[in-house]
């Protein structure tokens, strides 16, 4: 489980608006180079925040990504 990579992606989604735009347009393509497991990648693509949290994704990042966060 690459908890670090999951949080790197979440942090980029919060801080990098261009990356966030690419992710929102085509999550699979935006994450093509990310070192994620299949389970993590699927959770990102489906934007399953509970699953991402269960996989070690930071709660504070998950709730605060512009346009995607919330709880």
């Amino acid at each position: 489980m690459s908890r670090y990579e999951t949080n790197v992606v979440l942090y980029r989604l919060k801080k990098d608006s261009a990356f966030r735009d690419r992710f929102r347009a085509d999550p699979g393509s935006a994450l093509a180079d990310a070192d994620l497991t299949d389970e993590e990648r699927e959770a990102f693509v489906r934007w399953d925040t509970r699953k991402l949290n269960d996989l070690g994704g930071s709660l504070h990042l998950l709730i605060s990504i512009p346009g995607l966060g919330g709880h």
Binding site: Y4, V8, H60, S64, P66
Partner: protein
């Protein structure tokens, strides 16, 4: 000889819209009542005329990414910026409209850092980390339109395991008190965050607090009974959602053996809000 002239701890999302949206009118009213109390505390703080204000708070993965998470970090340098977040949502919006830059009390910050390393505290130092709501929501509420004194921002890693222990945070507070006592400055210290919320940092448990736990720790602080607080384990803090008590533990070390006076305690459900002062003068 310097001294600590004011000490307080308080919840740090002093932003009615956040609780209005996420809890409803009850949450909005409660945080508005807390804000009134914190403003009143700010009048006492302002009257104490500190040369520097040490603010002990935590990062919410806003400043330190997973590339490096310092357990304990002193902000040095001459000034510090407010965090800027494009498209801010939730509690990041508490920063909107605040000044962009604040002075840092460079000499006190350097003393805490340098003497800390000499004393065995392996503090990290940052010259560039900006401040999020954990620092600026309380500071701006305490001071309002009054000029803010030079700050010494101090980060405790509350959210990325493994965190520093409660006992270690208390010891850091003792260190800060020693530096203040042996320096020439009148120093104010505040700690921010809490009380219990976001148990286990689980999205599924957002909305829950641990009222019994919060009542217990507030009673301990009122009694000046800090031994059970320094004995709190990472597991207890995590399960109850009391991660940010680590900030408060730094303050407790700085003010011990003074007892707390509860200025506000409110059970919201989603979080329990509090503001406490210590008679240190």
């Amino acid at each position: 000889m310097g001294r600590i002239v004011y000490a307080a701890a308080m919840s740090h999302v002093l932003y009615p819209n956040y609780y209005g949206q996420n809890v409803g009118p009850h949450g909005r009213r409660m945080v508005e009542a807390l804000i009134d109390v914190v403003r009143d505390m700010g009048r006492t703080l302002t009257a104490a005329a500190p040369d520097a204000l040490v603010v002990v708070a935590d990062d919410h993965l806003n400043v330190f990414s997973f590339d490096a998470v310092p357990a304990l970090c002193v902000r040095v340098g001459r000034s510090v910026n407010r965090m800027v977040q494009d498209g801010a949502i939730e509690f990041d919006r508490a920063l909107e409209g605040l000044p962009e830059r604040y002075p840092v009390h460079e000499d006190l910050a350097n003393s805490i850092l340098e003497r800390g390393l000499q004393a065995g505290f392996d503090f990290a130092a940052s010259w560039s980390a900006p401040l999020d709501h954990a620092f600026l929501s309380p500071v701006s509420t305490l001071y309002g339109a009054t000029p803010v004194p030079p700050l010494v921002p101090f980060w405790v890693n509350c959210f990325v395991a493994p965190q520093p222990t409660a006992q270690r945070c208390f010891a850091v507070g003792r260190h800060i008190a020693r530096v203040a006592a042996e320096g020439p400055w009148n120093v104010a210290v505040i700690a921010t965050g809490g009380l219990s919320h976001f148990p286990e940092l689980s999205l599924a448990r957002v909305g829950q607090s641990d009222v019994a736990f919060d009542r217990r720790v507030v009673k301990w602080m009122e009694a000046g009974n800090y031994e059970p607080m320094t004995a709190l384990t990472a597991k207890e803090l995590h399960e109850s959602g009391s991660h940010e008590l680590l900030n408060w533990l730094v303050l407790l070390g700085a003010v011990s053996p003074a007892r707390a006076r509860v200025r506000f305690f409110g059970e919201m459900g989603r979080i329990d809000l509090a503001a406490l002062e210590w008679d240190v003068a």
